[in-house]
Symmetry: C2
Subunit: 411 residues, 2 copies
């Protein structure tokens, strides 16, 4: 009799975004004339950069002649893309990362989940609270947790609260943990980490033989030149950190699909016999066996992000969304709503007015002004009473959403 | 201290194809003038169908305007592609498969590995021998096996030998197993299954509460009209089988990346408390959490496979490779080499001459006639003494490879 992975049954009902979609659809069906503006899910809205499109069309055409046809590519990604990334994203910022340490994938979400494949089941895992739900859910699925309590916290995980009280900066744990998820610029709070803060984490990880999973999916949105874009800007990080990046947000690839994960060859984990095993070798084996690489066409599109035209076009995209974030911050502040983030990140994190619960504020916003955001409590217990507004939308929609909100909520 | 997944250390050195690549590279470096012909890895060589290219270029162009831009798509795939597949691949053959039961992915290899995520760790697993190595390796990685013996057989797995002696037809196990991997048309042997044979498996699976993983990646190569293309042509299969398919071989998508997995909503597995849990729900949750869907551009390319032009072009591609297979069969037979397969599958499986071991024949072929094939023993202990020749290459290369082999080996 085939048995199932019982850990799946511990998962709380529905991933956050499907639940939002459900409520929005219910509302839209009941109110077919309402013009709903979606600032919930962090999905980009503006056209794909021309440089990427031109490169992809060329790649499709190459596939049409025998001499240009590409079959199976390297599971790790094409060398020309790995080289471009190593040079532009890492070496140019002083990070000692080699192209061979970069693995191209079809999504950061995938890699965030799949990376657990190469680790043991007895690691103590730390996450911030609030947190990107995929970090938690994939650990639940892998059997690394107990059941959830009423607040949605899973037994066995170490939650590190990040709230206005601690300036959205997780405190280094006092207990010993083995795997640590960090995301900067942060989803959902929009908070950033200074080099000094990351240096503390690296010091902790090295002292404890821990591995940091550093999610830098939003690094392109950093405007403050003093802030690190990569954890490898921190001395010692090559010995304790895996970094995840994506083309989703800087180049608008959420529907095009390309991302990357950096696994330095200096990283090791402990085997049961006490020996140190190279994590690069394990991840390389995992990807070779369970993955077939990203489409050649898409990789050519990603490569174009690093051309002169591509750099200018992605910079313009990022600036566009960050101007949206600025508008959101200013208008909400004018409406006496307390806001955080939105300066080095495309997310504005706000304190709900009148101490409304996150979901109550979600329903109120949806029902009264037809604007969709993301309830903070959906990201974890410590997110209760907060709310995320995404800057990913057209200028017109952002302006209109803010006009509606300020009219309704102004003091 | 972060620990690793120790199961990875049980894996035998290198996946089969990297080992072949290593030997070929060593030979090519030592013999830079040799014109090596690769009939080893099952990778297509002919241009991507025009219908697919046209559709992808159109999709790229859509992405260039705000109104046509696509961000995150459904993790399960776009409805228009799932509909086209349900109608053309299943309903047209009398299979009762709904579009909602089809999950689009970026590769069958990925799905073959990932499907284990939703199953328990205590299932008894059966594979044929020889077998596509990914089935075995992913179970090793997931901790479902013991160590390997000298023949490369992992403890805990049930191996079902398929050799010339049993006409390459696995015997239904006498012991009870829970998960069964079947691949028809078979990689590597090129053998096929009749409806009667599959009916026996379905009967066994239903009687034992087992789930069949049915890999139909090569169904497009079936020429015999009496043979089933899908396991859902067999009564009762909706209650016991998951089917994997791919656009890699019929439409030349090995470098473009698109595949699909069918999980009928009628399938269940046992939870620890004895209850029956819908596998569709688990797989849907797995994909929603650990996957972000296939690129919109690529899905449009896959959809075009089902247009009139796409059908004609993929049919022509398949015919081209099958003519190669016919040439390989005929020439090897003329050289007194015993061949199997190659009639309803793009692989010819041969008995090595003079009882050479598979790897000895590999080295001999490489060194004397500069032709690369795949050692049968790389697919499992029972593949020893066999060898796989792939029909995926240009006509010119296939003709030349056969000319060299027949000259060297003719009696």
């Amino acid at each position: 009799m085939a048995t199932i992975n019982d850990n799946y049954l511990k998962l709380k009902a529905g991933y956050l975004f499907p639940e939002i979609a459900r409520r929005v659809n219910t509302f839209a069906e009941a109110n077919p004339d309402a013009k709903v503006i979606r600032l919930g899910i962090g999905d980009v809205t503006e056209p794909l950069p021309e440089a990427c499109r031109t490169a992809m069309i060329k790649a499709v055409e190459e596939m049409g002649v025998r001499e240009g046809f590409k079959g199976y590519g390297p599971e790790q990604g094409y060398a020309w893309l790995r080289d471009a990334i190593a040079q532009n994203d890492f070496q140019s910022r002083g990070c000692n990362i080699d192209a061979s340490e970069i693995f191209i994938s079809d999504g950061s979400k995938c890699d965030n989940g799949n990376i657990l494949d190469i680790f043991g089941n007895n690691n103590k895992i730390a996450v911030t609270d609030p947190v990107y739900p995929v970090y938690v859910d994939t650990n639940v699925m892998a059997g690394h947790t107990g059941d959830a309590n009423e607040a949605g916290e899973y037994g066995g995980l170490v939650y590190l609260p990040v709230t206005a009280e601690n300036n959205f900066t997780a405190q280094i744990p006092t207990e010993k943990v083995d795997l640590i998820y960090l995301c900067f610029p942060n989803n959902p709070t929009g908070a950033t980490a200074t080099k000094e803060h990351l240096q503390e984490w690296v010091k902790y990880a090295k002292a404890n033989g821990a591995i940091i999973f550093f999610d830098a999916a939003y690094e392109a949105f950093i405007s403050d030149p003093s802030l690190p874009h990569s954890i490898y800007e921190i001395e010692g990080a090559r010995d304790c950190a895996i970094e995840f990046r994506s083309f989703s947000k800087n180049a608008g690839f959420t529907g095009t699909r390309c991302a990357l994960t950096v696994v330095p060859k200096t990283l090791t984990g402990k085997a049961a016999d006490g020996s140190d095993v190279e994590l690069w070798k394990l991840w390389n084996r995992r990807q070779s066996t369970k993955f077939n690489g990203v489409s050649y066409i898409i990789q050519r599109g990603a490569e174009a992000v690093y051309s002169d035209a591509g750099k200018a076009q992605t910079k313009a995209l990022v600036s566009f969304y960050m101007e949206n974030a600025k508008i959101i911050r200013e208008r909400l502040t004018a409406a006496s709503i307390q806001v955080y983030g939105g300066v080095n990140a495309p997310y504005v994190w706000l304190k709900t007015p009148n101490n409304l619960s996150s979901w109550d504020f979600f329903d109120k916003l949806l029902n009264t002004v037809n604007v969709v955001g993301t309830p903070g409590s959906g990201f974890g217990a410590a997110g209760e009473g907060y709310f995320r507004i995404s800057a990913f939308n057209s200028r017109e929609n952002v302006e209109e959403a803010m006009r509606r909100i300020t009219e309704k909520f102004k003091v």
